[in-house]
Symmetry: C2
Subunit: 239 residues, 2 copies
Amino acid sequence: MVAIPRLYMDQPLAGGESLTLDQAGANYLFNVMRLGTGGVVEVFNGRDGAWRAEVVEVGRRRGVLRAAERVAPQRDPPDLWLLFAPVKKSRTDFIVEKATELGVARILPVSTDFTNSARVNRERLRAHAVEAAEQCGGTFVPEVGEMEPLARLLDGWDSRRALWFCDMTEAGGGTMPEVDGGAAAVLVGPEGGLSEGERGRLSAFPFARAMALGPRVLRADTAVVSALTIWQSRCGDWR
Amino acid sequence: MVAIPRLYMDQPLAGGESLTLDQAGANYLFNVMRLGTGGVVEVFNGRDGAWRAEVVEVGRRRGVLRAAERVAPQRDPPDLWLLFAPVKKSRTDFIVEKATELGVARILPVSTDFTNSARVNRERLRAHAVEAAEQCGGTFVPEVGEMEPLARLLDGWDSRRALWFCDMTEAGGGTMPEVDGGAAAVLVGPEGGLSEGERGRLSAFPFARAMALGPRVLRADTAVVSALTIWQSRCGDWR
């Protein structure tokens, strides 16, 4: 199998348009993938679908592509957000990769009462989302938010957005989401679970409900994939 | 939070029973977790539920526990098998960990026409399953089979076992499983997809059907978690 390199480039895409590669892009195409002039690349910018482009200039630290034709339409995910409490680094990276593949519009790291990890590197998470979109053939890159306290996010919550929360310490509870087609968010708490206070506050919201994730206790990263899968297969674009 | 160490021990469990720790177990409890005589451990053997046990003898390379009382009943997963084509090492380990958490009875690595990885270390995979069961509070450890060609496994397939296959190259196809409660298996092909021949053979089987995993192309490890989640939430013990 010969794979055509896919590259996210935040530049306007239209037929004949010149695209300027930065150092990382030039290194990837010319050194890693060993493309030369005339080499074929698939490019997307998150808005205009996927385009076939050709290498027209090869440089040491830069290069130029020319967009030729659109090969896939833009495909946006449903209006689904993922809120998650960051865990250790490799699993946080994994969560961002998986959420991008499964199809979410926004990824929001939240700090909760029992969150261990106080900070996340937003740029690194954003880079993981881009890489996952390149890898999975997507044309959309989810927005990655700054880490924010869950409490503050709930203060400003739009009640029209359904909020499905997964509390890892309560195996066996919860319900399955029903088709409704509207805006939604999935919140996966930290492995220590949500606090009494957080659970109480969530339970009082008419737009919030616990999602059932089976009788075994799942790790946070598993819970993210399972919860997004359940939502997508019942309410999202997997139906 | 103080976590009680959980340990899988393949020994009979009953009240008052002495349990002999091997070197790895002794090292974990006495050096890593720093338990001494009287320390409390939760033990399971995959058959008799979870038991509270106490340390009665501390040694350098061994030790003895005494089972005190059963703290959780035995809970077996549904009669669900996972068949997967091994990918690179870290993702294969991940697949075994996740399948154990999500609840499967058997994990069978299969070689397919487009499988890259020719061999797997069964003992390593088995150790990962044990660790995942310890971690997720389970009382069951899935059986891990020897790597086998998919074709040979299909030759001897019991037609009463439903086979749901996920073909990663065909985003958007397939159907969702319906509740039936019977024996089932989920097959996740390699990232290069199943071959024409494999797909043709599977499609001809009345017990086999493609499972829908949405419009984006998923990596093999994501597909495993998503497919097991969908089966569990529709036909398994997550309902």
